[in-house]
Symmetry: C2
Subunit: 292 residues, 2 copies
């Protein structure tokens, strides 16, 4: 077996049904040096225990998924969402500190969709920027980077009104780069005619908080969230996109995050091994020495 | 019943299973003044008969769907696609001339997706521009406008590598406005953070060859092509988009084109009546006097 790339990070959602303990064990056991965590499996064991387990694993933490979902109109629902994000910021700081040297305290933000019955996408987008303005001082204080993730436009109505990398950067650039960045996720942005320009822009401003890779499959499955596939199984030109990321000098971890019913139904140890191999085969990182 | 808007055009695909004769009869019978035609039902009766039927109907023709699908690499498949487009240009000219005064000779172009097994979207996009360069003189000669339709990015892999209005305009603007324009279809572009700027750009350059309206539904159905819905049933802000189109001075027909399994299963006469009503309720045209 080829050794895993030293900049590969397994996002925990790729083996969705594994517990945190199993995810850490399988990742480390495969020689993968980093992991992207999710709040739910962390909550299953409690933050303090999760942090101890992460420290014991020797893995770097590359990000925590996820905050966001703050497009509601002002009121109780919006306040609850912002409070939830405050808790997520604290969790991100704790888990980032627990990880091995080179860990990142990055909280991935999925904006949220249109409020029920609303077609006011312009208003919803404005509320995303307002929410980040409210949270940014707390993120800064905690040493956490809020990473705005543009989602594929097919999710604009019901999941994320932030639809392009350029749009995410328009928001992020209103704040210091240390506290607000963007996620560059091949699945969401591969189709964008402007993608190379926007990756360069993100890199030049120090805004790439996370680079995530997975493929885009067709036909889109009945649950459109599950169109993500293993690198090489779909339509994404990883060479072109990774070259654009390389050119910015980005040297952080690169996460593989795949939501896919068939992969979730596969033995997680096998998924981890396949992930490491597909990463080596399809993601041409310029420099695979992690700087940590 | 409210009289149909004088700028409403029923795209034939909205009543997919009706013959050309039935589509013309139902459209005219509902007081709708214009129709958008498709090549297949026209071919079912033959072009000459179709032209006579259109002339007899008294309806304007607003467009013919569709040409395009010219992303193949150079070779027999590509040559066949270009020849097919040449036939479509001739049909467009014939049907546009057969329609009532104010008809448009507009051929809607769907670019085509990635060649099988290819991830080279940059190359596929270049071949779209090359195909249009090859066809433009023939369109110009025939008095036909080629209308590049950007499709929603969820179709970028398998149907249309032209994904945004800005990208479509980048291609169209290489040619005279009389022979190459764009389609502004709310379903495909409603999510675009840059949509209002690009609609204004299209209008300023005289590039709006067709304005099509239908709604975007969630969840996206198993066949993602069928996520289109009746205006008012989904997430599109028709007020904002139509205001942007109005502001350009566009005064042509406005097509309703809906691919939707439930609508296709409904009695077409009922669909036509519902379409006219939903159009009046949701599409705030500034000036509803057709200039013809």
């Amino acid at each position: 077996m080829t050794p895993a790339d030293p900049r590969l990070s397994l996002n925990q959602a790729t083996i969705k049904y594994a517990t945190l303990a199993d995810a850490l064990r399988l990742t480390a056991g495969a020689g993968i040096p980093a992991i992207g965590l999710w709040r739910e499996p962390v909550a299953d064991v409690g933050l303090a225990d999760a942090a101890r387990m992460v420290a014991d694993s020797g893995l770097r933490v590359s990000s925590l998924c996820r905050g966001g979902f703050f497009t509601a109109l002002e009121g109780a629902e919006r306040r609850a969402a912002l409070d939830e994000n405050r808790r997520a910021i604290e969790e991100t700081a704790t888990l980032g500190a627990a990880g091995a040297p080179g860990s990142a305290s990055v909280l991935v933000l999925v904006a949220g969709g249109l409020p029920r019955g609303s077609t006011d996408i312009v208003g919803a987008r404005a509320r995303v920027a307002e929410a980040i303005a409210e949270l940014e001082p707390e993120a800064h204080e905690a040493g956490v980077t809020l990473a705005i993730e543009p989602l594929h436009p097919m999710y604009a109505a019901d999941r994320a009104v932030v639809s392009t990398l350029g749009q995410a950067l328009d928001v992020a650039e209103q704040f210091p780069a240390a506290s607000v960045g963007v996620v560059v996720d091949t699945f969401h942005i591969w189709w964008d005619p402007d993608v190379q320009t926007q990756i360069a822009r993100a890199g030049a401003g120090g805004r790439i908080a996370s680079y995530q890779v997975c493929d885009f499959l067709t036909p889109i499955p009945a649950d459109a969230l599950l169109a993500r596939g293993m690198m090489g199984d779909g339509h994404v030109d990883f060479g072109r996109l990774t070259a654009a990321v390389n050119a910015t000098g980005y040297s952080g971890d690169v996460e593989v995050e795949i939501f896919n019913a068939e992969i979730w139904a596969t033995d997680p140890a096998e998924v981890v091994a396949r992930t490491a191999q597909a990463f080596t085969d399809h993601i041409p990182l310029r420099d695979t020495r992690h700087p940590a």
